[in-house]
Symmetry: C2
Subunit: 332 residues, 2 copies
């Protein structure tokens, strides 16, 4: 059973894999686990993954057989285990709990070569619906406090499989970065009775210099204090605290904006590896006035981010205004 | 002039390079700046760096000529500028200040091939003294609140030059991670009237499972909630809040422990790239009861740390107890 351990100084929780821990040799041999040429997420290989928990497929096809458009399966090598109780224990001065959680994979399309820039609007829209469906199912489990949805695209961004997929981890704790955002936006609301993200959207629309693209319901821009070159945020213009409550602004609008944004990043940065993270409210909360869900996209560019994750101190060599200009002008 | 910009939501300051910003093409071409075969830090090339601000060299040698053992020079491509005033301004809802700061490089030895595991005890001891001397000089400048000392070793850890060196950045703000540590340890002290780092040392000495090596005055262990495989912390056993006030525990003891620790990491992980960061108190404080300076070493191992720095949420595939066991048993 993996463990969740709490840093006693700053309170950050970390998942520690306690079984089958990676040994030194696992880090030195290049690509030890990737089986080249074989992809368990491709159509025809449905029996190579755990059984699907959700699939978009014609009614006449059987579960775990071909014919699907989207499949969601438990991760074969989960970071957390879904079965068990949340044992909370101390070890001397330290705090830990058993590593309970869900770890799922959304296989976004049978097409091994697709990406968010090249897949159809209809395909990406269904992917976004699948996220919502899985979040709504996982939030029924009272052990889970937060559902983290993230996508690693490309080798350098940590993707261990090429086939287009997104991961979802349901957690019994709230990740530190999310907790900080909740706290910061709560303080802003307490001061001003306004959502800080709504204020940011307003500010960006006034100054225009960091906007990449927008449509009726969504906006993409490079944030004022971007940590990374070409860091990009996508927000619904209307105030919504939870991703899964976004029908009213339309997953069609979101899919359209994301495809547009991704095509611009691909054009300007030549299909960069990236991490994409949905920042949404904890599932234990409900219609928060002060928090506004959004997506953060971080292209993983060569030689950027050295000691930064060790210090919380970032040096960004590309001003967000310049990055936005490149992305605005990219025609696809 | 670079800018320091504050994230309005979580309060993290970021350095944004506003001049000569990196363009998209700078990220796609591999190794655009590295001149192979030529090293500006090697003996004989003293005129290829800015003039030295400190050097350990025989009295009969002239500044910026050969014969030195250690040289400290301003960074030729500084992230911050040392000349100017700390203009603090708002831009709409955002906060920023001019990017004032010092950015220096400690060239640790004339030997291009050396590392902290292979250089002599006397050499590393002088390096540690040079850190202290530069910190004491930089803290005279009232514009600076924090002095960050860090080392990127190896390409994958972001080192742009191979020659053994450490960087020092004097900042007009306190980095977020440091502020969090100060806050967490202040809260612990308020509760218990004890330094949390002293408590951690005591705990580790009781349980023993995470200790790598120790000597009379210093200890190295893998922290309980390690974010990364083989993450290693080094602390003085005696309570000292500021790195530069450590004569009483001996830079000889520190050099000896660091060489031992680095040799173990090199043996077990085959000379891994790593980031090493000195966590010390802000220069505006003085003999703090609640904070305890220490060094964090983060080996940068393949395929680890994907989306982690975007979320503050870490999955560590190697339990620190196993990592410590490998490192304890490594004989050099």
């Amino acid at each position: 059973m993996p463990e969740l351990r709490r840093d006693p100084i700053i309170g950050r929780w970390v998942i520690i894999a306690t079984e089958r821990g990676k040994r030194p040799v696992d880090f030195s041999s290049p690509e030890p686990t990737k089986e080249r040429g074989f992809c368990p997420f491709c159509a025809g290989n449905e029996d190579k993954t755990p059984a699907e928990v959700l699939a978009y497929r014609p009614a006449e096809t059987a579960p775990n057989s071909e014919g699907w458009r989207i499949r969601v399966v438990p991760n074969k090598f989960p970071a957390l285990m879904v079965e068990g109780d949340l044992g909370r224990v101390g070890e001397g001065m330290y705090d830990m709990m058993s590593g309970i959680g869900a770890h799922e994979v959304i296989i976004e399309t049978p097409d091994h070569e697709a990406s968010w820039s090249t897949m159809s609007q209809a395909n990406l829209e269904e992917v976004l619906w699948a996220f919502k469906e899985r979040i709504e199912d996982l939030k029924q489990d009272p052990r889970f406090k937060y559902i983290l949805t993230f996508k690693n695209h490309g080798d350098a961004a940590g993707a261990s499989l090429e086939h287009p997929h997104t991961q979802m981890i349901a957690l019994p704790i709230i990740p530190k970065r999310v907790a900080e955002e909740m706290e910061g936006s709560r303080a802003h609301f307490a001061n001003k009775e306004r959502c800080i993200f709504c204020d940011i959207i307003h500010q960006e629309q006034m100054s225009k210099s960091r906007i990449i693209t927008e449509n009726k319901n969504f906006i993409a821009f490079t944030p004022f204090a971007s940590r990374f070159p070409f860091e990009t945020w996508v927000l619904p213009k209307m105030h919504i605290s939870h991703y899964e409550d976004s029908e009213k602004v339309g997953f069609d609008y979101l899919a359209s904006l994301l495809r547009d944004t991704m095509r611009r990043l691909d054009t300007v940065l030549s299909d960069p590896p990236y991490n994409l993270i949905i920042h949404t409210s904890p599932v234990t909360a409900f219609n928060l006035e002060y928090y506004h869900w959004h997506i953060e996209i971080i292209p993983k560019l060569t030689k950027v981010a050295g000691f930064e994750w060790g210090t919380g101190f970032y040096i960004n060599p590309t001003p967000p205004e310049e990055a936005a200009e490149y992305l605005r002008e990219a025609n696809d």
